[in-house]
């Protein structure tokens, strides 16, 4: 069912025409947005039941992308005994599983790529062709895309000191632009890989399952996983058994971070309001406390002054009283003394008359003694 080149070119033309004319229908309303991915984007359907593990796709990928030659040649099928993942110069690997099942692994070109959502410099983007493309010139090398990728696909050239980069399948976008098929699809001898529009591939996949329900598991891997991928898989055994995780869920990567990202602007919007409010309250409390303190001090001072004044008054009163008493006493005393003196003087006057003669004699004697 591989799409012929002419058919492919025709559909590419339609896709480009549709984009340029802008005649695309609006797929979502104003709110509760739902995104269906780029219309007419391409993908690859991998029918794992047809894969024989010949490693031709690995070789073609290596040549098309001009990657380093591996240590062991591509026709060495013993390599398949080990579980491998994509690496610095390996964009795709085929792994062998129990029951002689094979599955090819490469970038799944998610409809909502986790890597692109994680990239903080837009080095990874979802092209309208369906390919997830990487721009080395922007990449800082934080490797968050590798953390984010649920399929563990991107690799990093850790040993390059100056120009390390992320490496992964490009869906052969340069070849697509030349009107060629991706290298792996082109070479596959068993038609295990089908290139085409994703929407068409989904129909093909389900038709195969519908026609041979005993042969296929009733699931198209990639239809909904992580919001859908442009590479789709059908298998005869549960996907878990051919190394594909079935616990990834259907939530697209950007939706998983949307909640946390959504709180960011609200924090910016409300934190200054709340914090300034708290500041104003604490400032006001401080002011009130200061005023209360001043009032308290004033009160204390007033009471103290009053008390002191009262005391002073009392003291003054007491003092005045005492003074008056003292004065009275003094006056009394003085009067008494005066009276006494007057009495004494009276008595003395009567005495003086008797003793005057004696007094003269005494004085003479005294003078005579002094001369001796």
């Amino acid at each position: 069912m591989a799409i012929s080149r002419r058919k492919f070119l025709g559909s590419l033309g339609v896709a480009i025409g549709a984009t340029t004319s802008g005649a695309l229908s609006k797929a979502y309303g104003a709110s509760n947005k739902h995104f269906k991915g780029h219309p007419d984007s391409f993908g690859v359907l991998h029918d794992t039941t047809k894969c024989i593990g010949c490693r031709k796709c690995e070789q073609a990928c290596n040549e098309v992308n001009a990657l380093d030659k591996p240590d062991r040649p591509f026709d060495d099928l013993e390599v398949l005994d080990q579980k491998r993942r994509t690496g610095e110069s390996i964009y795709t690997v085929v792994n062998k599983f129990e029951g002689n099942n094979f599955a090819k692994k490469q970038c799944n070109h998610c409809q909502e790529p986790a890597c692109a959502s994680a990239c903080f410099v837009k080095a990874l983007t979802k092209d309208k062709s369906g390919a997830v493309v990487y721009d080395e010139s922007l990449c800082v090398g934080c490797r968050y895309c590798m953390v984010a990728c649920p399929f563990n696909v991107p690799a990093y050239t850790y040993n390059d000191p100056l120009t390390p980069k992320v490496t992964k399948c490009t869906m052969c976008l340069p070849r697509l632009k030349e009107g060629k098929l991706p290298g792996c699809v082109d070479i596959c001898p068993k038609e295990a890989l089908t290139f085409g529009k994703r929407e068409d591939l989904l129909k093909i996949a389900w038709k195969r399952i519908y026609k041979r329900p005993e042969h296929y598991v009733d699931h198209v891997y990639g239809e909904h996983e992580m919001g859908g991928t442009n590479w789709l898989y059908i298998s005869s055994v549960p996907f878990e058994q051919i190394g594909m995780r079935e616990d990834l869920g259907v939530t697209p990567a950007p939706a998983m971070t949307a909640g946390a990202l959504g709180t960011v602007p609200i924090v910016v919007g409300l934190w200054p309001v709340l914090l300034t409010g708290v500041y104003a309250i604490s400032k006001r409390k401080e002011k009130i406390a200061l005023q209360e303190k001043q009032v308290a001090v004033q009160d204390a001072t007033d009471t103290a002054t009053q008390k002191m004044n009262a005391q002073l008054k009392k003291l003054r009163e007491t003092m005045t009283k005492e003074k008056e008493i003292a004065v009275l006493n003094e006056v009394k005393k003085a009067l008494e003394e005066a009276a006494k003196e007057a009495q004494e003087a009276k008595a003395a006057r009567s005495e003086t008359a008797d003793t005057d003669a004696n007094a003269v004699d005494d004085t003479v004697d005294d003078a005579g003694n002094k001369e001796e």
Binding site: M146, P164, M256, P272, Y279
Partner: protein, 390 residues
């Protein structure tokens, strides 16, 4: 003359300087290796484990342990707890150095460090939480630098510009809290994009809330711990105000940390209940989760409470160290230990000696820078000429 030289030599050859010097020499060798042979030559990172110790410890732990800056400055300037004033400058300095070293360490980890300004100035990947982290760390580093400058200006004697910067204190503090809230939480939210890789007990829709709340008590514990070290080694640099307020800071932060940790414990349990992850608790990693939550959150919270009730600062200081270890454990669990938990053990990551060496080198740079600043600028004491105004 000869005597003076020997004295000078003696001062340079202190045990601290010798050890620090040796670590820095090793660090420089590792730096040369990193930038000539590539990341692959010095680290155990591989395609399954793109983030290692340099992100798990240097970035995640570095940022959360530098949270003391926003916690202390907001307590003092926004919530009006003036008794923490003497703790603000050391906390700001630690935060500034912490963030500066986080950015410095990132230069080792990313592939092309000279492009680090790209996300901010050239090509903004606004859908990424890492963009949010990068922008906030860049802005917050700037804020912390400005908040730190008054100490440097006092040291240099630039009174006018110092007073001008001080007038921005409130705005800078609020900016600091906004930016810290955002990037502390976003560091946790980085892992929201990888539910298939992080163990369900650690993966939660509340991951960003957990990171933010735990950064608060991480910051407080760091302030207490750093104060303990400073008291031991830099006692002579402290003025009476600092010494008098130090115990109050320890008791107050211990009490606050204890309460926040209890709240954190509660929301961690809520996280398990919301996602119905109870059955994981009986597995091996479930036990490990218990260790993190009970031994390194609940226990230090109780230790803090006893310390602050009994007014025993020694207990609080022990609880602070314990809490810091718990924060480190939590960040390493999220980024390394519980990350890629489904991978076979052969594909798991363990840091190389050179990675650990580089991390130790960067921590040493921080300690040396702290010592350099504290012994010269008015951090642990108030500049006598500027005492009257605050």
């Amino acid at each position: 003359m000869a005597q003076e030289q020997t004295i000078a030599q003696k001062q340079y050859l202190t045990p601290f300087n010798v050890v620090a010097g040796m670590i820095i020499i090793v660090g420089l060798v590792l730096t040369i290796l990193r930038f000539t042979k590539g990341i692959g030559a010095v680290t155990n990172l591989d395609n399954n484990n793109p983030w290692g110790l340099w992100i798990g410890f240097d970035l995640l732990c570095g940022v959360s342990l530098a949270a003391g800056g926003y916690v202390t400055s907001s307590a003092c300037y926004i919530f009006g707890l003036k008794k923490y004033h003497s703790a603000v400058r050391p906390a700001i300095l630690t935060a500034f150095l912490g963030y500066a070293l986080v950015v410095f360490a990132l230069n080792y980890d990313v592939g092309r460090p000279w492009k680090l300004p790209y996300p901010i100035f050239y090509s903004q990947g606004t859908s990424s939480l890492l963009f949010e982290v990068g922008l906030c760390v860049f802005l917050y580093l700037t804020v912390l630098f400005v908040e730190f400058t008054p100490a440097a200006f006092e040291w240099l004697g630039f009174r006018k510009i110092r007073n001008w910067v001080l007038r921005l204190t409130l705005v800078l503090t609020i900016f600091g809290v906004v930016l810290s809230t955002l990037h502390q939480s976003s560091l946790g939210a980085l892992f929201l994009i990888a539910p298939s890789k992080l163990h369900p007990l650690w993966y939660s829709g509340y991951l960003h809330v957990y990171f933010f709340i735990s950064s608060m008590f991480a910051g407080m514990s760091m302030v207490i711990f750093e104060g303990t070290l400073a008291h031991r080694w830099l006692h002579d640099k402290m003025d009476d105000t600092h010494l008098a307020e130090a115990n109050g800071v320890v008791l107050g932060f211990g009490k606050a940390a204890s309460f926040i940790m209890m709240g954190y414990f509660g929301i961690k349990i809520i996280g398990i209940a919301v996602d119905n992850n109870w059955h994981y608790l009986t597995t091996g990693l479930g036990l490990w989760f218990f260790v993190e939550l009970i031994v390194f959150v609940l226990f230090p919270a109780i230790l803090y409470s006893v310390g602050s009730r009994e007014k025993k600062t020694l207990l609080i200081r022990i609880a602070a160290v314990w809490t810091i270890l718990g924060i480190i454990l939590n960040r390493l669990n999220v980024s390394l230990i519980a990350f890629n938990w489904h991978l076979p053990s052969a594909d798991r990551y363990f840091p190389s000696f050179m990675e650990i060496g580089t991390t130790i080198f960067i921590i040493t740079l921080g300690v040396v820078a702290y010592k350099f600043v504290v012994t010269r600028m008015p951090i642990l004491y108030e500049h006598p000429e500027y005492k009257e105004d605050h």
